[in-house]
């Protein structure tokens, strides 16, 4: 061991194969036992820096300048064999998608023990004992036997923790955590976050924690490095940046969450008065079964023009089943869906063209919702052509008008989806739905795949469109912040059942069902100590009032 910081990166630059600078002149230092948060939106170079700490560059990217010193060893001077010996043993990596990182054909314990055994650090027996100890630290069920399972036999949150155990198996000096909780539900995220914090603190390992969510990083990082487009924006102790962000960008990041916490729920402005206009969409006793599994039971609600109803729940709660059943994509459902007073057939194939036109769906992932081989112009223009018989000059004008409506440059009509950013693609999806002149827009997690600042822009766009066009939104989401910002009323789903329903402010204030309570409490707040307070509160509540309410890990 040498004196000085464990990891020192000086003047790091990474370029892509086409010569674009992904990371430009970044320097940082990390002491033993310290946690440094790397924060920024996608394309900021966070993951690239994280991988550079392992001496690695993705695909045809190259590290073009700078020094990466790990405990006095210059990683750029190491041979491939030298790097192999360092990786896993001295520096380890926890990826965003644990599901993609585990071999589905091998038991977890075999994969976890491979590193230390291959590096000849310990025997298989010792490695297993260590893994079981870490299973216990991370709160995994039945630690002695947990490792015998396969990746598909454990939940997403458990697998993410198993991956952390794998990374810790050789007792590395440095842990690189690349968005380890991003793919998880808020209620699961809080558990994993707390366990990771315990693990890091207990082992004295230094960590680079990469995330786009400032509120999450704030719980775990001692210092922050704010990045944008590969450049350093701001750095400093976490409390300092949260309290007094110096740059405009850091202020926007901090405000993005703070605004949520302060914002008044949008419900009072809504048109959802009892004596108001007749419901455009009415759902009664909607139930969806897959085989013998109830995905959704007995959901009923009504939606009036100009109103937003948010459906919130964690993954597997039946919220997407609800959206798809309303649109007719799940034909075998029970219950009744009526559009403007007329009952709709359960399957879309038996609905009239006019009924299909009035009810449009916007998908979660714009990448797969747009045919990659078609141009934006024909994607957006097709519904206008299909429903209204527009063609030629009139169609081109309508496309330009629609693109303008969603805040896109009409010149993009000649591009293909692959040439657009995620936010732009989601705008194209919205423009395509609007081309049908619908009455109801069903939005399935439309902001879930986007960076927070881009997601905020999309929400603002949708609010503006609602005011302009009087659209009714059925808004599927797992994010409470989104509900607060856009929904007049909210419907909370938990394990396929409606556990709360009503005006947003009222539901979030009363928190009658324990799940609603937990959901509200799990939303990360932009201050240090929130994690410990919340977990303490949760433990106290469980002790005082033993509700049989399983955690969704």
């Amino acid at each position: 061991m040498t004196a000085g910081p464990l990891l020192r990166i000086e003047g790091l630059s990474v370029h892509s194969g086409t010569g674009v600078a992904l990371v430009d002149d970044i320097s940082l230092a990390l002491d033993r036992g310290e946690v440094l948060g790397l924060i920024g939106e996608s394309g900021a170079g966070k993951s690239t820096i994280g991988l550079a700490a392992l001496g690695h560059a993705r695909g045809d990217c190259r590290i073009t300048a700078g020094r990466i010193m790990l405990d006095g060893i210059d990683l750029r001077l190491q041979s491939a064999e030298g790097l192999r010996r360092l990786r896993g043993r001295r520096v380890a990596y926890v990826a965003q998608s644990a599901a993609a990182a585990f071999n589905p054909a091998l038991r977890l314990i075999d994969q976890i023990c491979e590193g230390p055994v291959r590096h000849r650090l310990m025997s298989r027996r010792e490695a297993e004992a260590r893994a079981i100890e870490n299973f216990r630290v991370l709160g995994l069920p039945d630690p002695p036997r947990f490792g015998r399972r396969y990746a598909h036999q454990v939940s997403g949150g458990q697998l993410q923790r198993a991956m952390a155990v794998m990374a810790m198996s050789c007792g590395p000096d440095l842990l690189v955590l690349d968005e380890p909780t991003t793919a998880l539900d808020v209620t699961t995220q809080i558990d994993v976050l707390a366990h990771l914090k315990t693990l890091i603190a207990g082992s004295g390992t230094a960590a680079l924690y990469i995330s786009h969510d400032l509120a999450v990083v704030a719980q775990i990082a001692d210092r922050l490095l704010v990045l944008r487009r590969g450049r350093l924006v701001e750095t400093g102790p976490t409390e300092e940046i949260l309290a007094r962000p110096q740059t405009a960008y850091a202020r926007a990041l901090v405000a993005e969450r703070t605004a949520v916490a302060l914002a008044q729920p949008a419900s009072q402005a809504g048109p959802a008065s009892q004596s108001g206009p007749a419901a455009i969409l009415e759902v009664q006793g909607l139930a969806v079964r897959y085989g013998r599994q109830d995905a959704l039971s007995e959901a009923s609600f009504a939606l009036v023009p100009g109103e937003t109803l948010a459906v919130i729940g964690e993954s597997g709660s039946g919220k997407t089943s609800l959206a798809y059943a309303v649109c007719g994509l799940v034909p075998g459902h029970a219950g009744r869906v009526s559009l403007a007073g007329t009952p709709l057939a359960p399957g879309y194939a038996r609905r009239s063209r006019e009924q299909l036109r009035r009810l449009q769906l916007v998908f979660q992932l714009p990448d797969v919702a747009l045919n990659p081989r078609q141009r934006i112009g024909s994607l957006v223009g097709r519904p206008a052509q299909f429903y209204f018989g527009m063609r030629g000059e009139a169609l081109a004008q309508r496309v330009a008008e629609l693109l303008g409506l969603v805040g896109l440059d009409p010149a993009l009509a000649a591009r293909r989806p692959g040439e657009l950013s995620g936010g732009q693609k989601q705008r194209v999806c919205i423009a395509r739905a609007l081309a049908a002149r619908p009455d109801v827009l069903v939005c399935d997690e439309v902001t879930a795949a986007l960076d927070p600042l881009i997601a905020e822009e999309i929400l603002q766009l949708q609010r503006r469109l609602q005011e302009q066009l009087g659209l009714a939104y059925l808004f599927i989401t797992h994010d409470l912040a989104t509900v607060r910002r856009i929904a007049h009323r909210v419907l909370v789903l938990w394990r396929g059942r409606v556990v709360a329903q009503g005006p947003t402010a009222q539901v979030l204030r009363e928190r009658e069902h324990p799940y609603v309570k937990q959901l509200c409490a799990s939303e990360p707040e932009m201050r240090r100590g929130w994690l410990e307070e919340t977990l303490g509160g949760r433990a106290a509540a469980t002790a005082a009032e033993p509700v049989q309410y399983p955690h969704g890990n």
């Binding site: 994509l329 194939a349 449009q360 998908f363 078609q374 299909f386």
Partner: protein
């Protein structure tokens, strides 16, 4: 793209271009198209002795009946490549159409068609072809139809699998929710996205069909004499090997070169597609 490739051409890039198989395939296609003009003699013209060694008048010597070997190879390219191309087109026309419909409709129709095709797949193509050709005779249309239909079962499995992976994507759901008809969905949403794997499969399938015709000809059930084709040329001249003469090796080499060439082209295409 070609602008960035240019410098590599200068540094021994020509060798790589030649190794890509494209010039070889282009040469064989050109020869097939212009056969009557480039061939030095007539297709079935007797011009020398039996198995004359290569000389200035006959660059590759003569065959078992005293016909010019080079001329026979050139016409053989024409006959075999045309037949293989037509059979490939037929196999794809049928296989892709049925495969796409089965994938897009799904349900019991898909299950029924797929099981029926699996029964056909379980019989080796050569056996089926021998059966059909010995009953119906081996005129050229029957030959093309038989090979095309048999190979269509192989194309079907690929086309259906590719289409199924596209059908489940959300842009197809978006089109269906709009109320688009099945044909529009197949032609506009699925086909453009299936083109890359199908094109690769087409080139490979062409190679297989080409070899299949050669085997049929070798068994005497392919193209009938006196028309030249590479497979039957191997059979006709096989005896020459006993006398230490290279005559059957020329058509055999031609078969090998075209097969390798087409496969190299496909490899290059697939590598280019895989690049982001």
């Amino acid at each position: 793209m070609s602008a960035t490739r240019q410098p590599s051409m200068e540094r021994g890039g020509w060798l790589r271009f030649a190794a890509s198989g494209a010039p070889l395939v282009a040469l064989i296609l050109a020869v097939a198209v212009f056969a009557p003009w480039v061939a030095p003699y007539g297709e079935a013209q007797f011009v020398g002795g039996v198995w004359d060694p290569p000389n200035l008048a006959h660059w590759l010597g003569t065959d078992n009946l005293g016909r010019d070997m080079l001329t026979r190879l050139i016409f053989g390219a024409r006959n075999t490549v045309t037949l293989a191309a037509l059979a490939t087109a037929l196999a794809f026309g049928i296989g892709v159409t049925v495969g796409f419909f089965a994938a897009a409709i799904g349900g019991w129709i898909d299950a029924l068609v797929s099981r029926a095709i699996e029964i056909l797949l379980s019989i080796p193509v050569l056996i089926s072809a021998l059966m059909v050709l010995s009953v119906l005779g081996n005129s050229l249309p029957v030959l093309i139809a038989t090979i095309g239909l048999l190979e269509a079962t192989r194309v079907y499995t690929i086309a259906r699998a590719v289409a199924r992976s596209i059908v489940v994507r959300e842009f197809v759901a978006a089109a269906r929710l709009r109320g688009e008809g099945l044909v529009w969905v197949l032609l506009r949403e699925i086909l453009p996205n299936a083109l890359a794997p199908l094109a690769a499969e087409a080139a490979l399938r062409f190679s297989f069909i080409f070899l299949f015709i050669a085997s049929l000809s070798f068994l005497g059930l392919g193209i009938q004499p006196p028309a030249a084709d590479w497979g039957s040329m191997v059979r006709e001249n096989a005896q020459a090997i006993n006398f230490g003469l290279p005559a059957p090796l020329y058509p055999a080499t031609a078969i090998a070169l075209l097969t390798i060439g087409v496969n190299r082209v496909v490899d290059r295409y697939l590598a280019a597609e895989a690049r982001p």
